[in-house]
Symmetry: none
Subunit: 404 residues, 2 copies
């Protein structure tokens, strides 16, 4: 097929309407039968998801390409209609946005860990997991002492526990440098290196920053060094709300997902940590937006832990809350994941992801319940996650016909 | 992925053979369960389609892209193997070709309506729907009076009722101008405007034409003005018969579809208005061609009307005629649609389209009947309509192996 930018096409055809859309992302929900012969979705008691399935079109999505395991960035970009092979977002950017750090064109950001070094050896990459309070104090101390290196402004932002974010601001910064992180405890300190000649200056700044930091923290016993990784500049993405002509709201509890939503231009609202909190926030803002991205994190977290029963429980918890969500009266509801996180793999995977879409225009009636196999045999077949937004827009009667 | 033009590849591999192919297009046949829980295809009694399904491979096609609703142009181009994102055809061209107007490289054509104006207000966009005879007379009068404007030749062709086609011929014409049509009754006259500087000349010619026409028709009570829209130049398309090395015949009763077939280079034969007429023409020409495009319009028309029972009846009418068609002995038979036209939507939709292909090489045996759900779970799965021609060619033993 001709290489058409899908999003350009959808943007051209998009029209406004008063329909309401919900994209409910159960992070990493997809799974494999593993050693038990059943997936968490198959085992979980989900009367409400199953009832919705009977009124919906089911299918399964390929997050990026068959066999490619996506990170959270690409997984979500696809769902939002941004080709993850075209737009690549550094982890540093996601982390920064997630803790409300403003990032602009002249900024280069990195994720940082406090670490413990002895001599030139990194003995603990997480500095004994200090409390958020403890590490914030050290970040404050550093901020006072390190403000600038060779004309590049340094800004530091505390994160959870041992984590923080470093923002370098100035001209000539280039993200094509290696991580300053040995990846494992007991290894020597690793300095950043330029991947291209244009990034030589940036690597020097980063290494100077680390040396100065080491000097400032020389009296600390645990947090006496830092590791930097995921160097990234701000990617320019088309604005979600402009592209789709939708007022869009993101409801997510974890920084990463709030970051991605912010990056594409959704409004990210404050929210407590539980699914119940998220439902409450959804209800509160229902009238103010057209489109809601609603993110459930724990399905992925328990997948990563390899905790089958806990993953089942989160699915059941979401299922219990589903009627409260649906009662709001959405015209279009999608339930899916950004990728699979199989228990047996304890990590993201490439497997196609269960998907269902409800609207009055759905070809419902073929499927009885919401799980991997019903979705694989659903009326929509197997398709790309990149198709999800155009499908939602179509069901919401927000796309005009293509051609005469 | 490497960008390969699908049609170039198929063309390279195509060889001649004495096999006969039928592409039976039930326009807009796909549907959704809507409020009834069943689609017309599910309700219709179709013993012959179902018998064919038991000998065929079933699947469902995506006309353009998931979620994108195609017009008739893109829907058909895909089926014929022309990427609808690469080739875009104006409505004016389709209309002109449908009434046998020759269109060449120096031509710009537009669809026209006779309209009634009072002062500068368009009071009736269809001039009270004059008979074809009445309006033809007015077209003849205009043709005599307006032959040329600033070196651009003007040709007029009567259509049905209030419709006619205007062809502008000359150098420097550009299709990038706006419609001269207020779209609604009771609105002021709208003049054409250039969308790009290069089209300034064309817009002026169009407006001059309309002013002259108004002067000529000033004594008419109803047909005293005209609206022009769908300005389009002739798109250059690869010739279907050359690409596939097939002698191709189009059997269709409506101008639009005859137009598309002509545009890609099929031979369009004369035909009466009913399915029975079409079958008769098919039988008459069976020996003369390799490939037949057989178009059934009314499935779409009744879909657009929201008339469930009538759509069911057309499907049953086609089913009754099917044995006569199959008795001719085709080697490859495809039954599909160019898009879905769900009753509940009264218009084209984005939903995947039922598809089946019969040949002695089919992986038959999985499916029992021809409807949306059987096709969704068919042996071919979900694929692009753009794949249909290569699939037909393969089943017809008309494609060589790719690579050694």
């Amino acid at each position: 097929m001709v290489q058409v930018d899908r999003q350009d096409l959808v943007s051209e055809l998009a029209v406004k309407s008063d329909t309401k859309l919900l994209l409910l992302v159960l992070d990493g929900v997809g799974d494999t039968p593993g050693d038990r012969g059943k997936t968490p979705l198959m085992v979980a008691k989900t009367p409400n998801l199953d009832e919705l399935a009977r009124k919906s079109e089911l299918g399964q999505t390929i997050p990026v390409l068959m066999g490619i395991t996506p990170g959270s960035g690409p997984g979500h970009l696809s769902l939002f209609g941004y080709d993850p092979l075209k737009y690549q977002i550094g982890r540093g950017i996601l982390e920064a946005l997630g803790i409300n750090v403003d990032v602009g064109e002249k900024d280069l950001v990195a994720r940082a860990n406090f670490a413990t070094v002895e001599g030139d050896t990194v003995v603990d990459r997480r500095a004994g997991r200090p409390s958020t309070e403890e590490s914030s104090k050290v970040v404050a101390r550093l901020s006072e002492k390190i403000r600038e290196i060779e004309g590049i402004k340094i800004s530091l932002y505390p994160g959870k526990e041992h984590r923080f974010v470093v923002k370098f601001t100035g001209d000539g910064l280039d993200e094509r440098i290696t991580d300053a992180d040995p990846q494992k405890n007991g290894k020597p300190i690793v300095w950043s290196e330029p991947l291209v000649p244009e990034a030589t200056f940036t690597a020097r700044i980063v290494n100077e920053f680390l040396k100065t930091l080491r000097e400032v923290l020389k009296d600390e016993t645990r947090m006496n060094f830092a590791l930097l990784r995921g160097f990234s500049k701000y990617p320019r993405l088309p604005n979600f709300q402009d592209v789709y002509k939708l007022k869009a709201c993101a409801i997510a509890t974890y920084p990463m997902y709030r970051g991605i939503a912010k990056l594409v231009g959704m409004e990210v609202v404050d929210c407590g940590p539980t699914i119940a909190d998220e439902v409450e926030v959804l209800r509160k803002h229902y009238q103010d937006f057209d489109f809601f991205y609603f993110h459930v994190k724990k399905t992925d977290s328990y997948g990563e832990d390899g905790n089958f029963d806990a993953k089942v429980k989160v699915i059941e918890e979401l299922d219990e809350k589903l009627p409260d969500i649906l009662d709001l009266g959405f015209d279009v509801v999608v339930v899916t994941g950004d990728h699979s996180t199989p228990i047996i793999q304890k990590g993201h995977s490439w497997h196609p992801v269960p998907f269902m879409i409800y609207s009055r225009y759905a070809r419902y009636g073929l499927s009885e319940k919401f799980d991997e196999f019903e979705c694989a045999r659903g009326v929509l077949g197997t398709f790309y996650a990149l198709d999800v937004m155009s499908l939602m827009m179509a069901h919401a009667q927000r796309l005009e016909k293509y051609g005469a």
